[in-house]
């Protein structure tokens, strides 16, 4: 853990706000700038900031690498699953209009799920890559 008090206190204040902002970007992407990719990157940055300030071991206890690896695949499967679900509902792959009775509602639902999948994958990929970079010197040498 880094001993800089100011950095630690400020990052403690900032990390929840950054995560909240990521969720805002994620779920407000239909209405304003942003979307799953940006939200995922911001959320990943919050995890990385936590790891930088409080050490890799603490960060890996909070965000276990096994869970992050599962989330990497879960996000992409959520995206693909939405597309497959559209096929089962009688549409084409990723044709969200088939997901609900009203085509527009189906589009809203599809976009929400797909963006969520992108966000989960991107956030966990960013954190995983950082953990692999940062933990390299300690693990296998």
């Amino acid at each position: 853990m880094i001993r800089h008090v100011i950095l630690r206190v400020m990052s403690k204040l900032l990390i929840p706000v950054i995560m909240l902002f990521a969720l805002y970007v994620q779920f407000h992407g239909d209405y304003g700038p942003g979307g799953g990719f940006q939200a995922g990157v911001i959320f990943g940055a919050a995890i990385i900031l936590y790891a930088l300030m409080f050490g890799l071991e603490t960060a890996e206890a909070v965000f276990p690498p096994r869970v992050l690896e599962l989330l990497v695949t879960f996000g992409i499967l959520l995206y693909g699953g939405t597309g497959i679900a559209a096929i089962f509902e009688g549409g084409n792959f990723l044709d969200y209009s088939a997901l609900a009775h009203e085509p527009v509602h189906g589009q809203h639902l599809g976009i929400l799920l797909v963006e969520l999948g992108v966000g989960i994958t991107v956030a966990s990929v960013m954190a995983t890559i950082f953990f692999y970079f940062a933990g390299r010197g300690r693990r296998d040498v």
Partner: protein, 192 residues
């Protein structure tokens, strides 16, 4: 007025690019690359491409800088000062390529030209139909996630593939497993 902002931002970009080339301190170079991305994001914002600016700020100025710093902590933050003979062929190649690129920009439509081909291929369809088809105020999200959902699916797969590649290159689960059980294995091999 907007032209002045463009010129100032582009001048800053050029200055930072030259500074990054000339710097030997890689830590400062990484920081300058972050500022470079932030200036690019400002340029995109001035050009009303808010979503692109958002991505550039989050990825270029945020994550890339952090990953570069993580890499520097693994290697060294000083560029090796091995003197190399000037390469005139390299300079000629760079100047020729640059001249070709500048020549190609003369064929491009002017910035903000409403009759440019890019604004008439499928853009008209998106602008006319997004409200009724998708019902989402942000047209960029509608295009990315729904009209071009297949492309975004491919992009997400690319990110996934990058993650798998990093895991394989930087020591995956097997290496970690070997490390954890290293003492046992050594004990066995030393025994007989």
């Amino acid at each position: 007025m907007i032209d002045v902002i463009h010129i100032v931002l582009f001048t800053f970009l050029a200055v930072i690019a030259i500074a990054v080339i000339r710097l030997r301190d890689l830590f400062a170079a990484v920081m300058l690359m972050g500022i470079f991305s932030l200036l690019s994001a400002s340029l995109f914002t001035v050009m009303d491409a808010v979503d692109v600016a958002f991505t550039e700020a989050a990825v270029g100025a945020g994550i890339s800088t952090v990953l570069m710093l993580a890499t520097l902590s693994l290697t060294t933050s000083k560029e090796s000062t091995l003197y190399q003979r000037p390469q005139p062929m390299a300079l000629i190649a760079v100047i020729l390529t640059g001249a070709a690129l500048v020549y190609a920009t003369f064929d491009m439509p002017r910035y903000g030209d409403a009759s440019a081909p890019i604004h008439h291929h499928v853009a008209d369809y998106y602008i006319a139909r997004t409200e009724g088809d998708i019902g989402v105020p942000n047209m960029v999200t509608a295009i990315l996630a729904s009209y071009r959902g297949y492309d975004t699916w491919g992009e997400t797969t690319v990110i996934f593939t990058a993650c798998v590649a990093v895991m394989l290159l930087l020591g995956g689960g097997r290496t970690y497993y070997r490390w954890r059980h290293r003492d046992d294995a050594e004990g066995e091999s030393d025994g007989p």
